[in-house]
Protein backbone atom coordinates (compact mmCIF):
# COMPACT_ATOMS: atom_id res chain seq x y z
CA UNK A 1 0.00 0.00 0.00
CA UNK A 2 1.26 3.46 -0.85
CA UNK A 3 2.32 5.45 2.19
CA UNK A 4 0.22 8.54 2.77
CA UNK A 5 1.92 11.91 2.69
CA UNK A 6 2.53 13.02 6.29
CA UNK A 7 0.09 15.63 7.51
CA UNK A 8 2.99 17.60 8.97
CA UNK A 9 6.66 17.20 8.27
CA UNK A 10 9.23 19.37 9.99
CA UNK A 11 12.90 18.98 9.13
CA UNK A 12 15.72 20.48 11.18
CA UNK A 13 13.86 23.71 11.76
CA UNK A 14 15.88 26.40 13.50
CA UNK A 15 14.39 29.72 14.54
CA UNK A 16 16.43 32.55 15.98
CA UNK A 17 15.16 35.87 17.26
CA UNK A 18 18.41 37.83 17.45
CA UNK A 19 20.44 36.19 20.23
CA UNK A 20 17.59 33.95 21.32
CA UNK A 21 17.29 30.53 19.74
CA UNK A 22 13.62 29.59 19.96
CA UNK A 23 13.92 26.34 17.99
CA UNK A 24 17.19 24.42 17.82
CA UNK A 25 16.79 22.05 14.89
CA UNK A 26 13.39 20.46 15.39
CA UNK A 27 12.40 17.48 13.24
CA UNK A 28 8.95 15.99 13.51
CA UNK A 29 6.56 13.95 11.42
CA UNK A 30 2.86 13.65 12.08
CA UNK A 31 0.84 11.15 10.07
CA UNK A 32 -2.58 11.86 8.62
CA UNK A 33 -5.39 11.13 11.02
CA UNK A 34 -3.28 11.38 14.18
CA UNK A 35 -4.34 13.18 17.33
CA UNK A 36 -1.00 14.62 18.28
CA UNK A 37 0.03 16.48 21.42
CA UNK A 38 2.78 19.07 21.55
CA UNK A 39 3.74 19.72 25.13
CA UNK A 40 6.36 21.82 26.81
CA UNK A 41 6.72 24.57 29.37
CA UNK A 42 6.21 28.22 28.46
CA UNK A 43 8.96 29.42 26.15
CA UNK A 44 9.83 25.91 24.96
CA UNK A 45 9.05 26.85 21.36
CA UNK A 46 5.58 25.34 20.84
CA UNK A 47 3.97 28.51 19.55
CA UNK A 48 7.04 29.32 17.44
CA UNK A 49 6.80 25.91 15.78
CA UNK A 50 3.09 26.41 15.12
CA UNK A 51 3.78 29.91 13.75
CA UNK A 52 6.29 28.45 11.29
CA UNK A 53 3.78 25.82 10.14
CA UNK A 54 1.16 28.55 9.70
CA UNK A 55 3.47 30.97 7.89
CA UNK A 56 3.21 33.55 10.70
CA UNK A 57 6.94 33.17 11.25
CA UNK A 58 9.67 32.21 8.84
CA UNK A 59 12.22 29.58 9.87
CA UNK A 60 15.87 30.68 10.05
CA UNK A 61 16.75 27.32 8.48
CA UNK A 62 15.15 23.95 7.83
CA UNK A 63 11.83 23.22 6.18
CA UNK A 64 8.24 22.45 7.04
CA UNK A 65 5.49 20.87 4.96
CA UNK A 66 1.76 20.53 5.44
CA UNK A 67 0.24 17.60 3.52
CA UNK A 68 3.42 17.57 1.45
CA UNK A 69 3.31 21.29 0.59
CA UNK A 70 6.24 23.44 1.65
CA UNK A 71 5.00 26.26 3.88
CA UNK A 72 7.13 28.84 2.03
CA UNK A 73 7.49 27.63 -1.57
CA UNK A 74 3.92 26.29 -1.85
CA UNK A 75 2.34 28.47 0.83
CA UNK A 76 -1.06 28.62 -0.85
CA UNK A 77 -1.60 24.84 -0.83
CA UNK A 78 0.01 24.51 2.60
CA UNK A 79 -2.23 27.16 4.17
CA UNK A 80 -5.33 25.76 2.50
CA UNK A 81 -4.60 22.44 4.19
CA UNK A 82 -4.15 23.99 7.63
CA UNK A 83 -6.53 25.49 10.18
CA UNK A 84 -5.02 27.20 13.19
CA UNK A 85 -6.76 28.17 16.41
CA UNK A 86 -4.46 30.82 17.86
CA UNK A 87 -3.62 30.95 21.52
CA UNK A 88 -4.71 34.53 22.07
CA UNK A 89 -8.38 35.35 22.22
CA UNK A 90 -8.45 37.59 19.15
CA UNK A 91 -11.51 38.86 17.29
CA UNK A 92 -12.56 41.57 14.88
CA UNK A 93 -14.94 43.92 16.73
CA UNK A 94 -16.57 45.16 13.52
CA UNK A 95 -18.35 41.92 12.69
CA UNK A 96 -20.96 39.46 13.87
CA UNK A 97 -20.21 35.77 14.39
CA UNK A 98 -21.67 34.77 11.03
CA UNK A 99 -19.84 37.59 9.23
CA UNK A 100 -16.55 36.58 10.84
CA UNK A 101 -16.99 32.98 9.66
CA UNK A 102 -18.15 33.99 6.17
CA UNK A 103 -15.25 36.39 5.74
CA UNK A 104 -12.75 33.79 6.93
CA UNK A 105 -13.98 31.19 4.48
CA UNK A 106 -13.91 33.85 1.74
CA UNK A 107 -10.21 34.46 2.41
CA UNK A 108 -9.68 30.80 1.56
CA UNK A 109 -11.46 31.23 -1.75
CA UNK A 110 -14.81 29.78 -0.68
CA UNK A 111 -18.09 31.37 -1.64
CA UNK A 112 -21.59 30.15 -0.78
CA UNK A 113 -20.27 28.31 2.24
CA UNK A 114 -23.45 28.87 4.22
CA UNK A 115 -24.34 25.22 4.79
CA UNK A 116 -20.98 24.42 6.37
CA UNK A 117 -21.04 27.65 8.39
CA UNK A 118 -24.50 26.72 9.71
CA UNK A 119 -23.15 23.32 10.65
CA UNK A 120 -20.17 24.87 12.41
CA UNK A 121 -22.44 27.26 14.30
CA UNK A 122 -24.57 24.32 15.35
CA UNK A 123 -21.67 22.15 16.54
CA UNK A 124 -20.05 25.02 18.37
CA UNK A 125 -23.36 25.90 19.98
CA UNK A 126 -23.33 29.37 18.44
CA UNK A 127 -26.47 29.28 16.33
CA UNK A 128 -28.30 31.67 18.64
CA UNK A 129 -25.37 34.05 18.62
CA UNK A 130 -24.89 34.02 14.84
CA UNK A 131 -25.97 37.64 14.43
CA UNK A 132 -24.39 38.95 17.61
CA UNK A 133 -21.41 41.27 17.36
CA UNK A 134 -18.13 39.66 18.42
CA UNK A 135 -17.64 42.32 21.09
CA UNK A 136 -20.71 41.16 22.96
CA UNK A 137 -19.62 37.53 23.32
CA UNK A 138 -18.14 35.98 26.45
CA UNK A 139 -14.56 34.70 26.41
CA UNK A 140 -15.65 31.10 25.96
CA UNK A 141 -17.87 32.01 23.01
CA UNK A 142 -15.09 34.00 21.38
CA UNK A 143 -12.90 30.93 21.74
CA UNK A 144 -15.53 28.86 19.96
CA UNK A 145 -15.73 31.38 17.12
CA UNK A 146 -11.94 31.14 16.78
CA UNK A 147 -12.30 27.39 16.37
CA UNK A 148 -15.04 27.98 13.81
CA UNK A 149 -12.80 30.39 11.91
CA UNK A 150 -10.00 27.81 11.83
CA UNK A 151 -12.44 25.24 10.42
CA UNK A 152 -14.23 27.54 7.98
CA UNK A 153 -12.32 26.10 5.01
CA UNK A 154 -12.54 22.45 6.21
CA UNK A 155 -8.79 21.95 6.50
CA UNK A 156 -7.46 18.38 6.74
CA UNK A 157 -4.95 19.47 9.40
CA UNK A 158 -6.05 21.42 12.46
CA UNK A 159 -3.69 22.97 14.98
CA UNK A 160 -5.08 24.09 18.30
CA UNK A 161 -2.73 26.21 20.38
CA UNK A 162 -3.99 25.89 23.94
CA UNK A 163 -7.65 26.04 22.93
CA UNK A 164 -9.05 25.40 26.40
CA UNK A 165 -7.06 28.01 28.33
CA UNK A 166 -9.58 29.88 30.44
CA UNK A 167 -12.54 27.84 29.20
CA UNK A 168 -14.99 26.42 31.72
CA UNK A 169 -15.25 22.68 32.29
CA UNK A 170 -18.57 22.16 30.54
CA UNK A 171 -17.47 23.95 27.40
CA UNK A 172 -14.14 22.15 27.46
CA UNK A 173 -15.95 18.82 27.38
CA UNK A 174 -18.17 19.81 24.47
CA UNK A 175 -15.18 21.22 22.58
CA UNK A 176 -13.27 17.97 22.94
CA UNK A 177 -16.27 16.02 21.86
CA UNK A 178 -16.43 18.09 18.69
CA UNK A 179 -12.69 17.88 18.05
CA UNK A 180 -12.69 14.12 18.65
CA UNK A 181 -15.42 13.86 16.05
CA UNK A 182 -13.34 15.85 13.59
CA UNK A 183 -10.46 13.46 14.26
CA UNK A 184 -12.72 10.45 13.68
CA UNK A 185 -13.80 12.03 10.40
CA UNK A 186 -10.18 11.95 9.29
CA UNK A 187 -8.83 15.35 10.31
CA UNK A 188 -5.35 15.40 11.75
CA UNK A 189 -5.32 17.22 15.07
CA UNK A 190 -2.31 18.85 16.67
CA UNK A 191 -2.87 20.14 20.14
CA UNK A 192 -0.82 22.12 22.58
CA UNK A 193 -2.19 22.36 26.06
CA UNK A 194 -1.20 23.01 29.62
CA UNK A 195 -3.76 20.51 30.86
CA UNK A 196 -1.76 17.31 30.75
CA UNK A 197 -4.70 15.14 31.63
CA UNK A 198 -6.33 16.40 28.44
CA UNK A 199 -3.33 15.42 26.37
CA UNK A 200 -3.20 12.02 28.07
CA UNK A 201 -6.87 11.38 27.39
CA UNK A 202 -6.97 12.68 23.82
CA UNK A 203 -3.61 12.32 22.11
CA UNK A 204 -2.38 9.13 20.53
CA UNK A 205 1.12 10.49 20.32
CA UNK A 206 2.96 13.20 22.16
CA UNK A 207 6.11 15.22 21.56
CA UNK A 208 7.67 17.25 24.32
CA UNK A 209 9.64 20.37 23.62
CA UNK A 210 12.22 21.83 25.94
CA UNK A 211 14.30 24.90 25.17
CA UNK A 212 13.60 24.56 21.46
CA UNK A 213 14.43 20.87 21.25
CA UNK A 214 12.27 17.77 21.09
CA UNK A 215 13.11 15.76 24.18
CA UNK A 216 10.47 13.07 23.79
CA UNK A 217 8.35 11.88 20.89
CA UNK A 218 6.40 8.70 21.30
CA UNK A 219 2.93 7.25 21.59
CA UNK A 220 1.19 8.32 24.77
CA UNK A 221 1.08 4.70 25.86
CA UNK A 222 4.81 4.19 25.31
CA UNK A 223 5.62 7.40 27.12
CA UNK A 224 3.67 6.24 30.11
CA UNK A 225 5.20 2.78 29.88
CA UNK A 226 8.68 4.06 29.37
CA UNK A 227 8.39 5.38 32.84
CA UNK A 228 6.97 2.01 33.64
CA UNK A 229 7.90 2.04 37.28
CA UNK A 230 5.52 2.89 40.01
CA UNK A 231 5.52 4.75 43.25
CA UNK A 232 5.04 3.22 46.67
CA UNK A 233 3.85 5.39 49.50
CA UNK A 234 4.85 3.95 52.85
CA UNK A 235 3.96 4.86 56.39
CA UNK A 236 6.42 3.13 58.71
CA UNK A 237 6.79 2.59 62.41
CA UNK A 238 9.23 3.73 63.52
CA UNK A 239 9.33 6.64 61.03
CA UNK A 240 12.71 5.72 59.59
CA UNK A 241 13.57 4.38 56.15
CA UNK A 242 15.98 1.43 56.08
CA UNK A 243 19.41 2.30 54.66
CA UNK A 244 18.97 -0.17 51.78
CA UNK A 245 15.95 1.73 50.49
CA UNK A 246 17.49 5.22 50.58
CA UNK A 247 18.47 5.16 46.85
CA UNK A 248 14.79 4.72 45.94
CA UNK A 249 13.54 7.61 48.01
CA UNK A 250 11.63 10.06 45.86
CA UNK A 251 9.92 12.15 48.47
CA UNK A 252 9.59 12.29 52.22
CA UNK A 253 7.42 14.13 54.69
CA UNK A 254 6.08 13.66 58.21
CA UNK A 255 3.41 11.22 57.16
CA UNK A 256 5.68 8.88 55.25
CA UNK A 257 8.03 8.07 52.39
CA UNK A 258 7.53 7.81 48.65
CA UNK A 259 9.76 5.33 46.86
CA UNK A 260 10.22 5.25 43.10
CA UNK A 261 10.42 1.71 41.69
CA UNK A 262 11.67 0.74 38.27
CA UNK A 263 9.11 -2.03 38.11
CA UNK A 264 6.77 -4.05 40.26
CA UNK A 265 9.52 -6.68 40.54
CA UNK A 266 11.32 -4.44 42.97
CA UNK A 267 8.50 -4.79 45.45
CA UNK A 268 10.16 -7.99 46.72
CA UNK A 269 13.37 -6.10 47.41
CA UNK A 270 11.45 -3.39 49.24
CA UNK A 271 9.57 -5.86 51.43
CA UNK A 272 12.75 -7.80 52.22
CA UNK A 273 14.59 -4.63 53.19
CA UNK A 274 11.74 -3.58 55.45
CA UNK A 275 11.61 -6.99 57.09
CA UNK A 276 15.32 -7.19 57.71
CA UNK A 277 15.34 -3.69 59.21
CA UNK A 278 12.43 -4.62 61.43
CA UNK A 279 10.27 -1.78 60.14
CA UNK A 280 6.54 -2.17 60.49
CA UNK A 281 4.35 -1.10 57.59
CA UNK A 282 1.38 0.90 58.82
CA UNK A 283 0.07 1.97 55.43
CA UNK A 284 1.10 1.16 51.89
CA UNK A 285 -0.16 2.52 48.59
CA UNK A 286 1.09 1.74 45.09
CA UNK A 287 0.66 4.51 42.47
CA UNK A 288 0.94 4.62 38.67
CA UNK A 289 2.79 7.56 37.13
CA UNK A 290 0.62 9.83 34.99
CA UNK A 291 1.60 12.01 32.10
CA UNK A 292 2.23 14.90 34.41
CA UNK A 293 4.94 12.96 36.18
CA UNK A 294 6.42 11.82 32.88
CA UNK A 295 6.37 15.43 31.77
CA UNK A 296 8.01 16.72 34.94
CA UNK A 297 10.69 14.04 34.79
CA UNK A 298 11.53 14.77 31.18
CA UNK A 299 11.61 18.49 31.76
CA UNK A 300 13.84 18.13 34.81
CA UNK A 301 16.33 15.75 33.28
CA UNK A 302 19.34 17.42 31.68
CA UNK A 303 20.20 16.61 28.09
CA UNK A 304 17.56 13.95 27.73
CA UNK A 305 16.89 12.92 24.18
CA UNK A 306 13.96 11.12 22.71
CA UNK A 307 15.94 7.91 22.46
CA UNK A 308 17.28 7.74 26.00
CA UNK A 309 14.74 8.95 28.43
CA UNK A 310 15.27 7.36 31.81
CA UNK A 311 13.20 5.37 34.21
CA UNK A 312 12.10 6.95 37.45
Amino acid sequence: MRRLVPAIQVERVVKRYGELQALAGVSLEIAQGEFFGLLGPNGAGKTTLISILAGLAIASSGSARIMGHDVVAAYRQARRALGVVPQELVFDPFFTVREALTIQSGYFGLRNNRAWIDELLHHLDLTEKADTNMRQLSGGMKRRVLIGQALAHKPPVIVLDEPTAGVDVELRQSLWQFIRRLNRDGHTIVLTTHYLEEAEALCGRIAMLKQGEIVANDSTQNLLQRFSGCYVNLKLAPHRLPEALQPMLAQQDESGFRLALRSYDEMGHVMAALRSAGAKVQEMEVMQPDLEEVFVKIMRSEGVTASRAEHP
Binding site: V84, I103, Y107
Partner: protein
Protein backbone atom coordinates in the same frame (compact mmCIF):
# COMPACT_ATOMS: atom_id res chain seq x y z
CA UNK B 1 -9.72 36.28 -6.68
CA UNK B 2 -12.38 35.42 -4.09
CA UNK B 3 -9.80 35.86 -1.34
CA UNK B 4 -8.84 39.28 -2.67
CA UNK B 5 -12.44 40.34 -3.08
CA UNK B 6 -13.31 39.14 0.44
CA UNK B 7 -10.47 41.13 1.98
CA UNK B 8 -11.45 44.22 -0.02
CA UNK B 9 -15.08 43.78 0.98
CA UNK B 10 -14.14 43.31 4.63
CA UNK B 11 -12.05 46.50 4.53
CA UNK B 12 -14.92 48.34 2.88
CA UNK B 13 -17.38 47.13 5.53
CA UNK B 14 -14.92 48.08 8.22
CA UNK B 15 -15.27 51.78 7.45
CA UNK B 16 -18.76 51.75 6.00
CA UNK B 17 -20.23 50.22 9.16
CA UNK B 18 -19.00 53.24 11.11
CA UNK B 19 -19.58 55.85 8.41
CA UNK B 20 -20.59 58.55 10.84
CA UNK B 21 -17.04 58.54 12.10
CA UNK B 22 -15.23 57.63 8.88
CA UNK B 23 -17.18 59.59 6.26
CA UNK B 24 -19.55 62.14 7.79
CA UNK B 25 -17.03 63.50 10.30
CA UNK B 26 -14.37 64.37 7.70
CA UNK B 27 -17.02 65.89 5.44
CA UNK B 28 -18.20 68.08 8.31
CA UNK B 29 -14.60 69.12 9.07
CA UNK B 30 -14.11 70.18 5.45
CA UNK B 31 -17.38 72.11 5.55
CA UNK B 32 -16.25 73.95 8.69
CA UNK B 33 -12.95 74.88 7.03
CA UNK B 34 -14.89 76.23 4.07
CA UNK B 35 -17.31 78.22 6.17
CA UNK B 36 -14.65 79.75 8.42
CA UNK B 37 -11.90 80.45 5.85
CA UNK B 38 -14.30 81.12 3.01
CA UNK B 39 -16.13 83.70 5.10
CA UNK B 40 -13.17 85.42 6.78
CA UNK B 41 -11.12 85.66 3.59
CA UNK B 42 -14.02 86.49 1.29
CA UNK B 43 -13.11 89.28 -1.08
CA UNK B 44 -9.56 89.62 0.29
CA UNK B 45 -7.98 86.95 -1.89
CA UNK B 46 -8.41 85.97 -5.50
CA UNK B 47 -5.83 83.25 -6.17
CA UNK B 48 -6.70 83.03 -9.87
CA UNK B 49 -8.38 85.78 -11.87
CA UNK B 50 -12.14 85.46 -11.75
CA UNK B 51 -12.18 82.68 -9.21
CA UNK B 52 -13.53 83.44 -5.74
CA UNK B 53 -11.49 82.25 -2.79
CA UNK B 54 -14.25 79.96 -1.51
CA UNK B 55 -14.49 78.28 -4.93
CA UNK B 56 -10.71 77.96 -5.02
CA UNK B 57 -10.78 76.38 -1.59
CA UNK B 58 -13.34 73.65 -2.33
CA UNK B 59 -11.23 71.37 -4.57
CA UNK B 60 -8.33 71.72 -2.12
CA UNK B 61 -10.54 70.69 0.79
CA UNK B 62 -12.05 67.82 -1.19
CA UNK B 63 -8.60 66.57 -2.13
CA UNK B 64 -7.37 66.97 1.44
CA UNK B 65 -10.26 64.79 2.56
CA UNK B 66 -9.45 62.20 -0.14
CA UNK B 67 -5.81 62.08 0.92
CA UNK B 68 -6.26 62.00 4.68
CA UNK B 69 -9.02 59.40 4.64
CA UNK B 70 -7.30 57.09 2.20
CA UNK B 71 -4.27 57.19 4.49
CA UNK B 72 -6.33 56.74 7.64
CA UNK B 73 -8.22 53.72 6.31
CA UNK B 74 -5.28 51.48 5.47
CA UNK B 75 -3.06 52.64 8.32
CA UNK B 76 -5.58 52.42 11.14
CA UNK B 77 -6.95 49.10 9.95
CA UNK B 78 -3.52 47.49 9.85
CA UNK B 79 -2.22 49.01 13.07
CA UNK B 80 -5.37 48.13 14.98
CA UNK B 81 -5.32 44.59 13.63
CA UNK B 82 -1.71 44.21 14.67
CA UNK B 83 -2.39 45.63 18.12
CA UNK B 84 -5.44 43.48 18.79
CA UNK B 85 -3.85 40.45 17.16
CA UNK B 86 -6.67 39.84 14.69
CA UNK B 87 -4.17 40.41 11.84
CA UNK B 88 -3.73 36.59 12.02
CA UNK B 89 -7.07 36.24 10.25
CA UNK B 90 -5.54 37.71 7.10
CA UNK B 91 -2.08 36.20 7.58
CA UNK B 92 -3.23 32.59 7.94
CA UNK B 93 -5.17 32.34 4.64
CA UNK B 94 -3.45 31.71 1.30
CA UNK B 95 -3.61 35.36 0.17
CA UNK B 96 -0.71 36.45 -2.03
CA UNK B 97 1.18 39.67 -1.32
CA UNK B 98 -0.49 41.23 -4.35
CA UNK B 99 -3.99 40.31 -3.16
CA UNK B 100 -3.17 41.69 0.27
CA UNK B 101 -1.77 44.92 -1.20
CA UNK B 102 -4.54 45.63 -3.69
CA UNK B 103 -7.34 44.78 -1.26
CA UNK B 104 -6.08 47.25 1.34
CA UNK B 105 -5.19 49.80 -1.33
CA UNK B 106 -8.53 49.74 -3.13
CA UNK B 107 -10.49 49.93 0.12
CA UNK B 108 -8.38 52.92 1.19
CA UNK B 109 -8.95 54.59 -2.17
CA UNK B 110 -12.66 53.86 -1.90
CA UNK B 111 -12.92 55.58 1.48
CA UNK B 112 -10.86 58.55 0.22
CA UNK B 113 -13.05 58.91 -2.86
CA UNK B 114 -16.29 58.58 -0.88
CA UNK B 115 -15.12 61.31 1.51
CA UNK B 116 -13.94 63.56 -1.34
CA UNK B 117 -17.23 63.10 -3.16
CA UNK B 118 -19.03 63.86 0.11
CA UNK B 119 -17.14 67.12 0.52
CA UNK B 120 -17.98 68.20 -3.03
CA UNK B 121 -21.60 67.18 -2.62
CA UNK B 122 -22.02 69.23 0.55
CA UNK B 123 -20.05 72.30 -0.51
CA UNK B 124 -21.77 72.83 -3.86
CA UNK B 125 -24.72 74.16 -1.86
CA UNK B 126 -22.55 76.99 -0.57
CA UNK B 127 -20.16 77.67 -3.43
CA UNK B 128 -20.58 77.93 -7.15
CA UNK B 129 -18.10 75.52 -8.64
CA UNK B 130 -17.34 74.75 -12.24
CA UNK B 131 -15.64 71.63 -13.51
CA UNK B 132 -13.63 72.19 -16.71
CA UNK B 133 -11.90 68.83 -17.04
CA UNK B 134 -13.72 66.08 -15.12
CA UNK B 135 -11.29 63.44 -16.34
CA UNK B 136 -8.38 65.27 -14.73
CA UNK B 137 -10.41 65.54 -11.54
CA UNK B 138 -10.99 61.82 -11.57
CA UNK B 139 -7.41 60.97 -12.53
CA UNK B 140 -5.92 63.03 -9.69
CA UNK B 141 -8.46 61.76 -7.18
CA UNK B 142 -7.46 58.20 -8.11
CA UNK B 143 -3.73 58.92 -8.11
CA UNK B 144 -3.85 60.89 -4.87
CA UNK B 145 -5.95 58.35 -3.00
CA UNK B 146 -3.69 55.63 -4.40
CA UNK B 147 -0.51 57.26 -3.07
CA UNK B 148 -2.06 57.84 0.33
CA UNK B 149 -3.48 54.34 0.47
CA UNK B 150 0.00 52.96 -0.19
CA UNK B 151 1.55 55.27 2.42
CA UNK B 152 -1.18 54.15 4.81
CA UNK B 153 -0.26 50.51 4.25
CA UNK B 154 3.41 51.27 4.93
CA UNK B 155 2.59 53.27 8.07
CA UNK B 156 0.16 50.60 9.26
CA UNK B 157 2.68 47.82 8.78
CA UNK B 158 5.42 49.82 10.45
CA UNK B 159 3.50 51.08 13.49
CA UNK B 160 3.20 48.85 16.52
CA UNK B 161 1.21 51.34 18.56
CA UNK B 162 -1.34 54.09 18.01
CA UNK B 163 1.11 56.83 19.00
CA UNK B 164 3.61 55.68 16.37
CA UNK B 165 0.89 55.94 13.79
CA UNK B 166 -0.21 59.32 15.15
CA UNK B 167 3.39 60.56 14.81
CA UNK B 168 3.41 59.45 11.17
CA UNK B 169 0.12 61.25 10.62
CA UNK B 170 0.86 64.44 12.57
CA UNK B 171 4.49 64.99 11.62
CA UNK B 172 4.52 63.81 8.02
CA UNK B 173 1.08 63.58 6.44
CA UNK B 174 -0.58 66.62 8.00
CA UNK B 175 2.28 69.13 7.36
CA UNK B 176 2.75 67.89 3.79
CA UNK B 177 -1.00 68.28 3.16
CA UNK B 178 -1.33 71.71 4.75
CA UNK B 179 1.78 73.02 3.01
CA UNK B 180 0.78 71.72 -0.40
CA UNK B 181 -1.44 74.62 -1.43
CA UNK B 182 -4.81 73.51 -0.12
CA UNK B 183 -5.50 77.00 1.24
CA UNK B 184 -3.44 79.15 -1.12
CA UNK B 185 -1.91 79.37 -4.55
CA UNK B 186 1.84 78.93 -4.31
CA UNK B 187 2.34 82.03 -6.47
CA UNK B 188 1.45 84.02 -3.37
CA UNK B 189 4.47 82.54 -1.56
CA UNK B 190 8.02 83.96 -1.39
CA UNK B 191 10.34 82.35 -4.01
CA UNK B 192 12.12 80.14 -1.49
CA UNK B 193 8.86 78.70 -0.17
CA UNK B 194 7.74 78.15 -3.77
CA UNK B 195 10.84 76.04 -4.44
CA UNK B 196 10.22 74.03 -1.26
CA UNK B 197 6.60 73.46 -2.23
CA UNK B 198 7.72 72.02 -5.55
CA UNK B 199 9.54 69.32 -3.61
CA UNK B 200 6.32 68.30 -1.91
CA UNK B 201 4.58 65.56 -3.92
CA UNK B 202 1.26 66.45 -2.28
CA UNK B 203 1.38 69.83 -4.03
CA UNK B 204 1.13 68.13 -7.44
CA UNK B 205 -1.90 66.09 -6.36
CA UNK B 206 -3.79 69.16 -5.19
CA UNK B 207 -2.69 71.42 -8.03
CA UNK B 208 -3.60 68.81 -10.65
CA UNK B 209 -6.94 68.13 -9.00
CA UNK B 210 -7.69 71.86 -8.91
CA UNK B 211 -6.69 72.23 -12.56
CA UNK B 212 -9.46 69.76 -13.38
CA UNK B 213 -12.00 72.21 -11.94
CA UNK B 214 -10.73 75.59 -13.10
CA UNK B 215 -8.52 74.78 -16.09
CA UNK B 216 -5.71 76.76 -14.43
CA UNK B 217 -3.03 75.58 -12.05
CA UNK B 218 0.40 76.50 -10.75
CA UNK B 219 2.04 73.86 -12.97
CA UNK B 220 0.97 71.78 -15.98
CA UNK B 221 -1.41 68.90 -15.10
CA UNK B 222 0.73 66.60 -17.26
CA UNK B 223 3.78 67.36 -15.13
CA UNK B 224 1.76 66.85 -11.95
CA UNK B 225 0.29 63.58 -13.22
CA UNK B 226 3.72 62.29 -14.24
CA UNK B 227 5.25 63.09 -10.86
CA UNK B 228 2.33 61.67 -8.90
CA UNK B 229 2.13 58.51 -11.03
CA UNK B 230 5.88 57.96 -10.66
CA UNK B 231 5.61 58.35 -6.88
CA UNK B 232 2.68 55.93 -6.81
CA UNK B 233 4.55 53.34 -8.87
CA UNK B 234 7.71 53.60 -6.75
CA UNK B 235 5.82 53.43 -3.45
CA UNK B 236 3.68 50.51 -4.67
CA UNK B 237 6.77 48.57 -5.70
CA UNK B 238 8.35 49.20 -2.29
CA UNK B 239 5.18 48.21 -0.45
CA UNK B 240 4.69 45.01 -2.45
CA UNK B 241 8.25 44.07 -1.61
CA UNK B 242 7.72 44.82 2.08
CA UNK B 243 4.54 42.74 2.21
CA UNK B 244 6.22 39.86 0.38
CA UNK B 245 9.07 39.97 2.89
CA UNK B 246 6.49 40.01 5.71
CA UNK B 247 7.89 43.26 7.10
CA UNK B 248 6.66 43.52 10.69
CA UNK B 249 3.84 41.13 9.81
CA UNK B 250 5.53 37.75 9.80
CA UNK B 251 8.47 37.13 12.14
Amino acid sequence: MIGFYTLFHKEWLRFWKVKVQTVLAPVLTALLFLLVFGHTLRGTLEPYPGIAYAAFLVPGLAMMSVLQNAFANASSSLTQSKMTGNIVFVLLPPLSHREFFFAYLLAAMARGLVCGAGVLLVTVWFVELRCEHPLWVLAFALLGSGIMGVLGIIAGMHSEKVDELAAFQNFIILPLTFLSGVFYSIHSLPPFAQVLTHLNPFFYMIDGFRYGFFGVGDVSPWLSATIVAACLAALSWLTLWLIKAGYKLRH
